[in-house]
Symmetry: C2
Subunit: 196 residues, 2 copies
DNA sequence: CTACTTAGCGCCAGTGACTGACATTCAGGG
DNA sequence: CCCTGAATGTCAGTCACTGGCGCTAAGTAG
């Protein structure tokens, strides 16, 4: 291999995250990112298909990890418990990479174009999770539904974690899945919470 | 007002839907859409902020309608039943406009760029629904969670309707919300379904 | 009927994301 | 020391999208 190889890729991601946070996503050009990373603008597009994708590089790994965890989850669990099991393991990666994942999620939350990409990634991941569930004993109908609602719950927990970093992501995750069950309680549980 | 006003807008939407279906979204230029609609390319961007948005015009109306239905839903319903109530009413609009909404959803499903926008619209709508729920007796935590999972279920039902138009959207909707409850049954209900 | 206002529109120049084609450079194998 | 290939640089080009300016036609007041 010539000069750097994977080094340029990491520098591009770092430069992009910095510039997006400094000037905002819209007021940052791909030429500026490349310049800060010390490479040509064309090289940027050799590593990433577009200006947004540079912040979503770990998605393939995350998807693979989640699908593996779904496959490896103990038998006899309900679909949503299988997903919770997988999310808790994946959540660890997010918490360990906190200095990178927190500013990243914060930036995404405040940038419409990045929220859009994030939502799309969530949809793709949901379908992957549905496929992973189908490879277990989950029917076609329930797999898709469980995957989408499960992902929505995970995303909800991740957002709660950003808004309230005092508690761990894992705690927010457990809280969200507990709340999910409250939604299906026979007696409207919302009264009890709002009466306080 | 001059010449046409809202007429040009409708022609642009129609032309865009046609061209996207004929040549595909990527191989259609905004200039071509404008030409078929009989206006200048600049006029396209006066009516729609970008090339994708031309297919998502009804979103504001849908959001307003859904929020209104949530507000008007009978008292004492659980959050997810409130949402189901709203979705059933909104679903009627989709079924009545079937000749427009069906090819549109089909096109969106097969075009990555449009799926991305669709996912983003869903996220925005979910937040609007959460806000509408908070204006009822639903707590902050549960509102967001219910809105996101409820929307995921609605989206799931809409996709099932496209894949299987034999049954009505309303039927798919009821089916999806029933399945959602199965996911929380104490005994894993997935076995019963996959045994058949 | 005329003058004035204004909302849409056409036209033009420009920026920036992204792509294809070709030349170049540097690492490692023979 | 040459040679092959992967990563990069360079250049030209397309297309989405924007700001500015002038035009035209529909309503409105007199």
């Amino acid at each position: 291999m010539p000069r750097s190889g994977a080094g340029a890729r990491r520098r591009l991601q770092q430069a992009a995250l910095e510039l997006y946070r400094e000037r905002g996503f819209d007021r940052t050009t791909t030429a500026e990112i490349a310049a800060r990373a010390g490479v040509n603008e064309r090289t940027f597009f050799r590593h990433f298909p577009d200006k947004r994708e540079v912040l979503f590089d770990g998605e393939a790994d995350l998807r693979a990890a989640l699908m593996q965890e779904v496959a490896d989850a103990p038998d006899g669990l309900q679909p949503l418990d299988v997903l919770l099991h997988a999310f808790r393991k994946a959540g660890r990666v997010l918490e360990e990479n906190r200095p990178f994942s927190e500013p990243r999620l914060e930036l995404i939350a405040k940038t419409p174009a990045l929220r859009e990409r994030d939502a799309a990634k969530g949809a793709y991941l949901s379908e992957a999770l549905a496929e992973a569930l189908r490879r277990r004993d989950v029917s076609d109908q329930l797999a898709g539904l469980a995957a989408h609602t499960g992902w929505a719950t995970f995303h909800h927990a991740a957002q709660a974690w950003i808004d309230d970093p005092a508690q761990s992501l894992d705690a927010h995750l457990l809280q969200a899945f507990d709340d999910l069950r409250i939604l299906f309680a026979t007696v409207p549980a919302t009264r009890a919470r709002s009466e306080s």
